[in-house]
Amino acid sequence: MPVEAGNDHPGQGSAYSACVAAAGGDFIVNVEFARTRVLTWWSGSLAAVTMAIAVSLAIAGPAPPIVPLLLLGALVACTEHLVLLRPPTSILGTGVMLSMTAVVVFRDDGALLGPMVVAMCGAVFVPHLRARAWAKIAFNLGYFGLSAAAAAAVYGALDPLGSTTAWRLVAGIPASAALVAVNLMLMTVLIAIRDGRTPRRVLFELAPGNLEVIPLALFGVLLGELALDLNALVVPLFVAPLVIARQTYSSAARLEAAHEAVLTTLTAALEVKDRYTAGHAARVAVFADYIADELGLGPRARRNLRFAALVHDFGKLVVPNSLLNKPTALTPEEFEVVRRHEELSRELLAGIDFLAPRASEVVGHQDVDDFEGKPTVAHVVAVADAFDAMTSTRSYRRALSQEVAFAELRDNIDVQFHRRCAEALIAAVTRRGEHYGAGYEVDPGAWPVPPPARGTGSAGLGDLAPGWEGAR
């Protein structure tokens, strides 16, 4: 299941996120819970209760019409594992929507049994069957079946109170809420048992994601009314474009990830030329993403920023290796050659539509001199680039400490750096408890010729090293 780059779930590390992450984004509970006896008993009991209810209903009450039952059940079985939407804290599949559709479609015949059977078809998950994960299948049977039964019961209780389409749609709201409530309760118990945590805490973490399910459930109610008005055959006609949209969206996410991988490969090529900047572009992209996260930018803006950060130094690919690694100061002619990479970077980036308007800014970010208003791509890249340059060892100077780098950022606000970007990066690194710079570098001794402790090469910033005469 594709995970959109940068789309971190809030509360990373929470039980729900771990559950989702372990599931690879599947709405079906694909938790890797340990095969503990308690969990097994819990899952088995749930499935047993659900099946007992279903069998009792099948014996006692009117049977739901077979054609819609088979149709909706097959749709749920085939599409439940396909994530449709990814709101901030949850993942949504077709099962919720089609369960509510079944609640409406079967309201006159098999009002409880029909939705239960349709929903339980969502437990038919081929990977679980192949892996013989009977506990998971049992849990899902109970989880889906009881949720649908609760929704159907509430809907059935409210339906006789009104006869208009509008009233029936309104009745779908508490029914959807009942479905979500039972979902939440059963999942909370599962996670609490698995992790040994208090149910209250787990409930608090899971609740936001489950609430986002309600609009999709209401969709299902509308679809059910449409199916009743016309024919249940319209349901596949509604679901088919959604499934295609989902597959297309997945392809787009995969292509975006592949695109980023391609750019990362090219930065690796750059690092073959200049090992002192190994990982520089990737780190600048990470820092740019930190800033974007602190500034509250959306997924597309963050993606564009990461891309801009990865490519901002592409022109270095054409700078001779001897100049990139020169330990001493560059001559004016050599400096011009190195600066030429900026022109080339500009020319290269102009060929990419969404970057073309900002190519000059991205490449010449150190020349940006307007720090009023909203931060731009150039402002973000400037701060990220400078921070990494200061906290990395180069051929002409060793890494500075993180404290010195932070001080440099603060001292040059509105001179070289945009205030919001500088403060955002400092806050992000501090909040994450991360450390960069002197003493925290990877493989600090792995240089063929160790660079000087403080240097005066291009952008050496050696004068910022503490203890150096003339330090500011």
Partner: protein, 390 residues
Amino acid sequence: MSTRALRVAITVGVTAVSAVVAGLADPGGPAPGLIILGGGIVVGELLPLRPPVRGSVPLSFAVFVVLAGQTGLARYAVIVIVAELAASMLVEGAFISRVLRLAARLATATAVIGAVMAIDALVPDDTEVVQLVAALGGAVAALVVGDLLHAVGSRVRVRRGLQRRLPISLTGRSADLIIVSTAVLMTASVEGRDEPGFGLWGLAFCSIPLLMAWYATERLAAARTTYDQSIQTLSVLPEIVGWVPHGRATRVAQLSVEVGEELGLERWELDRLATAALLHELGRVCLDDPSGSAPDAIAGAGVQILSATDELSGAAAILEAELDPETAPVPYATAGAILTVVGAFEDASHGRWPESQAAAEEGLASLRPSYDVRTVRILETVLDSARTRP
């Protein structure tokens, strides 16, 4: 707000106001609904589905089908003509392309109403099944006509274009499936059954999957555009610096793909060959002497760079096949041979073969003694075709 979003918003606003006015002037009449469907046509033209391996499919195709089921021929014609004229003013493009687009849409709309009327005439019963079958026929007619017109409009050689576009391919036909299913669904929801049904609210509700599909295809199209542009940008990097002649990568890629088509390579093989051709010289960036290094060293460095990611590993395998054709796996050996021959031709003709027949002849003459005879012959055929192509 983007230009397109603004145009959609204006269209929706104007349609809403017009529908309200019509509703006040003619309460309970069909005018508001027909105006909304007309507005839907305009919006549909502004929001085309752009699947990867097919021409774009405007969402208005689905609305044509609904409109055909809701009104008679005269009103249908008036609404379609007015809506398409309005859409022609809102879509971007040169005047002549807008005129051609308008003509194509009117032809498609004619096919839709023709199919619906024909099915209604063949089956006189006015049951809901017949209505849905008529909607299905109308949607299919729209897609077939639209596809044919696109093939012709793309200026591909018609016979080859039809051979490539008409065979059913799931990847290319996903947009068709979306339009067909949504058109039938919309028709059914607007028509209703025993009860009045959802009417135009059903139209709005049933457009949700269509709009979601549109958003997804736009996202994929944008990702594909950015990806292709990035590859293109990297391909010109050696040219910008002056290590290789300007335009080399594009010429080699174009010619390699045409030779590959003649040899019957699949679309995905051609895409991989094009990528390998575009990034063939990228390995120079890693070398100490980028402009003077041997071809094998350049290709070897290129293999190292490209093989680092899954997406480019196929292109890397083609470059590797160039270096060692004897041991290369079959899928890559052919592509590698094509790239070798075309690259040598480009170098021998000094890049002047597109405009100078003498340069092309000189290039071919240098290839004949040393390279695969079949590939050289096919290259010759491709060059001849290029010369005679309008």
